[in-house]
């Protein structure tokens, strides 16, 4: 049997760094308690499969997410981050997600400006009833990050990939 010749997967921001074989991305998921977290719970109870690369953290509201968290996630084990909240107009705290989406835009643009690919941090609105949507969102994010390769920028000491 002939060995398959594969293209080597590299880190898109630093093309000299090659991904190890069978590399799987680590995605940090920050979900708001009332909509997205409940939505992801529904995905699970509906037995809909989604990629296991995501690690979920629950916050009360998407506006709890300080841009600081996104920076910190990217500096530790995460190769990408997904932040998800309630649809605009449906926030449990009325206006939280309106403030959050302003912050998200600026953070995404700034990270892109300093050299991160824009798909490294992604956002979604997923309601508590949208089980299938959550699965689709996670699949899309995982696929996107897989294409970008491992993240190697500014990792903290303990989290540098060897």
């Amino acid at each position: 049997m002939e060995a398959e010749v594969k293209d080597q997967l590299v880190s898109i921001e630093k093309p000299e760094l090659v991904a190890p074989p069978n590399w799987e991305p680590v995605i940090m998921g920050i979900l708001c308690n009332w909509c997205s977290y409940a939505g992801s719970d529904l995905t699970g109870t509906s037995r809909i499969q989604y990629p296991p690369n995501i690690r979920i953290i629950r916050v009360p509201c998407s506006s709890r997410v300080d841009p600081w968290f996104l920076i910190k996630s990217l500096q530790t084990t995460a190769d990408g981050v997904l932040v998800s909240g309630c649809h605009p107009g449906d926030c449990h705290y009325i206006t939280g997600n309106y403030y959050a989406r302003r912050r998200f835009l600026v953070t995404k643009k700034l990270l892109n400006f300093v050299g991160f690919h824009e798909n490294r941090i992604q956002f979604s609105w997923v309601s508590a009833a949208e089980g299938p949507k959550f699965a689709k969102v996670v699949a899309k994010v995982t696929e996107d990050i897989k294409k970008l390769g491992p993240l190697h920028l500014y990792k903290k000491e303990n989290f540098e990939k060897k």
Partner: protein
């Protein structure tokens, strides 16, 4: 000891530097964003050993790094596993080019505190392994006052090799220590010619006299030191520290400041411990458990700074801690000059 002295010209000096870089780990001023910092270089084109003093950082980070990893630890149920304690990338044999003589003097002063109640073996090793080549400045900068302090700038032997620009493009290379002599006796000096110490002396003296005359700032050190030790409670400190913004910059660029802090970057049971610079000017320097701040008011921190530099260290170790390089004034966002502060406070 026959003091090795050589004379050469600009081209010969370049070849001297290149010969040194060829087979020794060399650090020299490298320009970045308009400022010069000492980095590892392999070619003369990467660096400028004659960088202007106003824009050059000190060589202190090569002996007391801005950040040094102390250890890595992992806590398990069997105990704590500590690793990576031995690596010290700076403890190799190296040469520093283009050190200013105030920087070299700063190391002599720091030697005292690092050999005091606790012998800092890391610092010792780095000092033993490093050769310092210093070019004497031709002209003082606006903030320098090294000749006003308690050390003999002309005959300083803090560096291993001294380079002096003489008249008519002549450049003198002189050994100041045994290590320096040993270096100059190798073939790095093959493009220079030997001269005797007595022959070179008049030119060196002439350069020094011109240099000493170029200082804008001069103080009577003995008087200042005597007065300062008696006026701890003067309200003048409040006036001079008014526009300080407690930003840490002066301590970070100072060639003799040696305060540090230990920080742990941890995640659950694993972590890395770092030792990095700290500044007594910081608002929360040495904050104690429970929240007590020993120096909450800004004027007290400035008083501490001035007294440490000009009184306390001299009392304890016999050397003035401030070496008169003026880097703090240049780096300060509001250009506070320790020279002016000390003069204003002593009246």
């Amino acid at each position: 000891m026959n003091v090795e002295t050589f004379v050469t010209d600009k081209a010969g000096l370049q070849k001297f530097y290149e010969a040194i870089m060829a087979d020794r780990e060399t650090y020299a001023p490298v320009e970045k964003f308009g400022k010069f910092d000492f980095k590892r270089v392999t070619h003369l084109s990467e660096c400028d050993p004659e960088s202007p003093i106003a824009k050059t950082q000190s060589i202190k980070p090569l002996f007391f790094p801005r950040t040094a990893k102390v250890m890595k630890y992992v806590a398990t149920s069997a105990g704590t596993d500590v690793s990576e304690v031995d690596e010290d990338p700076l403890a190799v044999k190296r040469v520093i080019l283009g050190a200013k003589h105030c920087d070299a003097r700063a190391l002599q002063v720091l030697d005292k505190v690092y050999n005091w109640d606790y012998i800092d073996t890391d610092y010792q090793k780095r000092r033993e392994n490093t050769l310092i080549i210093s070019t004497r400045c031709d002209k003082a900068d606006a903030h320098c006052f090294c000749t006003s302090l308690d050390y003999d700038v002309e005959n300083l032997n803090a560096m291993d090799v001294l380079i002096v620009n003489g008249a008519d493009g002549k450049i003198f290379i002189k050994a100041k220590t045994e290590k320096g002599s040993a270096l100059l006796n190798t073939d790095v000096t093959r493009h220079a010619s030997r001269v005797t110490e007595t022959d070179a002396a008049p030119e060196l003296k002439k350069q020094y006299d011109a240099f000493a005359a170029s200082f804008r700032l001069k103080m009577d050190y003995k008087e200042v030191n005597a007065k300062l030790s008696k006026i701890f409670d003067t309200p003048e400190f409040e006036n001079v520290s008014g526009n300080c913004i407690s930003c840490n910059t002066c301590a970070f660029v100072c060639p003799t400041c040696h305060c540090f802090k230990i920080s742990d970057e941890k995640l659950k049971d694993t972590g890395v411990r770092y030792k990095s610079y700290d500044s007594c000017n910081n608002g929360y320097f040495t904050l104690m458990a429970g929240g007590h701040n020993p120096r909450p008011a800004k004027y007290r921190r400035w008083r501490q700074r001035a007294m440490h530099k000009f009184v306390y260290y001299k009392e304890r170790f016999g050397e003035n801690l401030c070496v008169g390089c003026g880097k703090c004034t240049m780096a300060c966002p509001v250009n506070i000059s320790i020279f002016e502060v000390v003069n204003q406070v002593t009246g």
